[in-house]
């Protein structure tokens, strides 16, 4: 059995209001779909070592709502929530997503998730779209205030890689 090379995510900006992430997984897409929409599974990867996941709710249907929240090491609570508009296992789903802080919670992005499988490898593509340049800039400004420390830490943590 050959081991797959470690897979990498790629990020691109198709327009100045969209961010697209792509990542391949050595798994059938039905399983990948389950892993990203089942709270008990999401809980196990969404925190990713950055957050201690405290809330993980997801209603798996068009018209359903969702909420993921977690605590940072400093005790700050970070939450995202939204509504699901399309739910089409195992091909994909579409939902809104907003960061739950004042003035930003009313500026949701629309996230479109697509899964394509070929020879046992699933390509996952997610595109987040801001509704306006104002929304985008407000989200970024708010993200930098709260997450500036986290982003500097992330940058500094990369230093040892250079040696």
């Amino acid at each position: 059995m050959t081991a797959a090379a470690k897979r990498q995510m790629t990020l691109s900006t198709p327009s100045d209001l969209e961010i697209t992430l792509t990542r391949a997984f050595d798994a059938p897409r039905a399983l990948v779909f389950k892993a990203i929409t089942t709270p008990d599974y999401v809980r196990r990867w969404w925190g990713a070592g950055h957050l201690d996941v405290t809330t993980c709710e997801f209603e798996p249907r068009a018209g359903g709502t969702w909420r993921f929240a977690g605590q940072t090491p400093d005790g700050m609570e970070i939450a995202f929530f939204g509504e699901i508009s399309e739910f089409d296992p195992p091909a994909g789903l579409v939902y809104t997503e907003a960061f739950d802080v004042p003035e930003i919670r009313d500026r949701p992005s629309t996230v479109t998730v697509r899964l394509r499988e070929e020879s046992g490898v699933t390509a996952l593509t997610t595109t987040s779209r801001f509704q306006s340049v104002e929304d985008r800039d407000a989200v970024i400004a708010s993200g930098m205030e709260g997450g500036a420390a986290a982003s500097y830490d992330a940058l500094e943590a990369l230093l040892p890689e250079i040696k």
């Binding site: 892993a35 196990r44 990867w45 986290a150």
Partner: protein, 113 residues
Amino acid sequence: MTSADQLDVIFAALADPTRRAILARLREGEATVKELAEPFAISAPAVSKHLKALRQAGLIAQGREAQRRPCRIEAGPLKEAAAWIEQYRQLWSDRFDHLDELLQELQREEPSE
């Protein structure tokens, strides 16, 4: 003002870990090329190449004093966007790595799935 093309140039500049580390250092204050090269096991000319890429992306400015040529980080909304996108990229990259591990674990538990 922020165009997709400009963001592409910024992403290319941020794609390299040495350049990201240089930006992290410059957030703490100005530095000369020599000071920036010190922590890395690469030559000053190699650092200069990275600085050129960061300058072209508009992420840093470099002074013209012949001897020192100090570098400083450029503040501004476009650069804020670049930093935010890098943070977003790092977070989701980590999430997908964890998802990858979970998927491998789930398939080991039930290989027929």
